[in-house]
């Protein structure tokens, strides 16, 4: 449609977005990568120091702790959310009474922001724990399970919606054929439904994976990383801090560790890219098979 000489229309159509994109993404991204190799407090006084920041990041106990905390959290939340969402979606597509009402209710938490959800659940958990004269900030086990419950409560509805769409896209004659061949209900589920649902399962797994991995708001509002203990190096290690929150604190709690914070952010970015590439790989592989 457009020839190369069409400068005027490029200006009208693309430039507003492109200019904002440079300000909002391209420039910050590349200067972020550059700064991860620098010692700096502000952008203007950056000094190039090579890979020092990365070495320090891997020696940072708080970062390693948050990394393992995040990994455990991600594995558990991905499994739980998907199992719950799949089961509920399965039940809702059976045609039981009130399906639409249930669907509406289960999706609702997704519209409320992470900060507000975190605050609401903090009050609820502390209200319960108060009876045992303890609270979320005193024991990391409570913080961990609190975060899991909060994430299941919020995300299961979202994934359920995607699974419902998946269930409805399975052609009906497949079920009929299976039934005529004498398959039992559980055989139909494992041999027909689940293989046909593979695309939805891939999508939901990766969505929950990236959502849990990048989790920030809920973590900040629910526990803010508490409880903290003094580690071997004299720095405070926060027991329920996830990677995103740890990076944020490395940046803004201490001006001298900004370079390390930026290096941690790059490591975080690389991990997320690896997850995204894995998703791409699985999606492509499936498309080839079909």
């Amino acid at each position: 449609m457009f020839k190369k000489r069409n400068r005027l229309f490029f200006l009208i159509f693309v430039l507003p977005t492109f200019a904002a994109f440079i300000i909002g993404f391209i420039y910050p991204f590349f200067s972020g990568i550059y700064l991860s190799f620098c010692k700096f407090r502000t952008v203007s006084n950056a000094q190039f120091i090579g890979i020092d920041n990365y070495i320090k990041a891997f020696q940072n106990e708080g970062f390693l702790q948050s990394f393992w905390f995040t990994c455990v959290f991600v594995v558990l939340s991905v499994v739980l959310i998907n199992l719950i969402a799949f089961a509920v979606a399965y039940i809702l597509t059976l045609g039981i009474r009130g399906s639409n009402v249930f669907r509406t209710v289960f999706f609702m938490p997704n519209l409320i922001g992470g900060i507000i959800l975190g605050y609401i659940w903090q009050q609820i958990f502390n209200g319960i724990l108060q009876k045992y004269s303890t609270n979320l900030a005193l024991n990391e086990t409570y913080g961990f399970w609190g975060l899991i419950i909060l994430m299941c409560w919020q995300q299961a509805g979202y994934m359920m919606i995607i699974y419902i769409a998946g269930f409805q896209s399975v052609p009906h004659d497949l079920y009929e054929a299976a039934r005529i061949d004498g398959a039992s209900k559980s055989q139909i589920l494992t041999k027909v439904t689940i293989p046909m649902m593979a695309p939805s399962i891939t999508i939901c797994t990766f969505l929950t994976l990236t959502n849990s991995f990048k989790l920030f708001d809920q973590n900040l509002a629910l526990t803010n990383g508490l409880p903290g203990v003094v580690g071997a190096g004299g720095t405070t290690i926060y027991k329920t801090e996830m990677i995103a929150l740890n990076i944020y604190k490395t940046f803004y709690a201490n001006q001298n560790s900004r370079g390390i914070g930026q290096a941690e952010a790059v490591i975080f970015f690389v991990i997320v890219v690896v997850i995204a590439l894995a998703q791409l790989y699985f999606t492509r592989k499936r498309e080839v098979q079909q």
Binding site: K4, L35, N100, N110, I116, G127, I162, K214, Y248
Partner: protein, 291 residues
């Protein structure tokens, strides 16, 4: 686009015993799902003393204080909440509008042009969806500061830039499915690119407009870190910033007021949800399947 609709409960479909039990089980779970909202609503009517006595107790004559927390939170204090709501509302509405108009135009041009620059921009947009915000947060805040984008108008530019990835991706996906012959016909009839876009392409793209609009609205309305780092917080706060600010001021936390403000900030979303539930759910599925 997949049409998402839980199977209409057919009137004549026989409800077996198992299905009846499922209905009961799901009803119980539903109660737990809406319970936190009622929990907040209940506590917003109690005094602080009443809340500290027990958050699960129903308000009684002693602890009930009506709408007092709402009024205090809304109009008094260093930073009255009505300003916050206005600020959040402004940023969300105009941010989404700006994203929709600019990125749909951009996506159409990118798809209909063969130049190498357009290809590069397109792949950068897709790439930007993967990058976590922590990666750019420091440099983005500095850039916004240098360019004086620290007010509700300036932040719209940042949202356009950072939200462009998903929007361009979704619009491009749709543009690919529009037969180019329609546009060529318009061209032959003498319509220029602007007329072709606004007269022909834009009306066809309506479903994608709704999907993108919903996804971006949910994102911007609930976003915390981006406005927190970019806005000049002495003058402007969005709802999540305000709640977190009140929560973080240890010692003098006015729990009752926070509860009241949470109710006030949830109400618009719930109304929005019930008003366009169908579109929201379709939008989410479209976004998930393509993203």
């Amino acid at each position: 686009m997949a049409i998402v609709k839980a199977k209409e409960p057919k009137k004549h479909k026989k409800q077996t015993l198992g299905m009846k039990i499922m209905t009961i089980v799901l009803s119980v779970i539903s109660v737990f799902y809406v319970a936190p909202v009622f929990f907040v609503l209940m506590n917003s009517f109690k005094s602080n003393a009443g809340i500290s006595r027990g958050v699960f107790e129903l308000p009684n004559a002693e602890t009930f204080q009506g709408f007092q927390s709402y009024i205090t939170g809304m109009f008094f204090g260093d930073f009255p909440f009505w300003q916050t709501i206005l600020c959040s509302f402004f940023i969300t509405v105009f941010g989404v509008a700006l994203i929709l108009v600019c990125t749909s135009m951009c996506a159409w041009y990118l798809m209909r042009s063969n130049s190498i620059i357009c290809k590069i921009i397109y792949y950068f947009c897709i790439f930007s969806m993967v990058v976590p915000f922590q990666m750019v947060m420091f440099t983005l805040a500095k850039t916004a500061d240098t360019l004086k984008l620290t007010n509700p108008v300036g932040i719209l530019v940042v949202y356009l830039g950072f939200g462009a990835g998903l929007a361009v991706f979704m619009f491009s996906g749709f543009v690919k499915s529009i037969p180019i012959e329609i546009e060529e016909a318009a061209n032959v009839d003498g319509a220029g690119p602007l007329r072709t876009f606004f007269g022909i392409v834009l009306p066809i793209m309506k479903p994608t407009f709704i999907s993108v609009g919903i996804l971006e609205t949910m994102w911007i309305w609930n976003d915390y870190l981006l406005p927190y780092l970019i806005l000049d917080k002495t003058y402007y706060k969005t709802i999540p910033i305000h709640i977190q600010y009140l929560n973080g001021s240890y010692g003098h936390t006015d729990t009752s007021a926070i509860m009241a403000l949470i109710v006030l900030s949830i109400v618009p979303i719930i109304i929005f949800y019930f008003a366009c539930q169908k579109y929201i759910i379709e939008g989410v599925v479209a976004g998930a399947v393509k993203g």
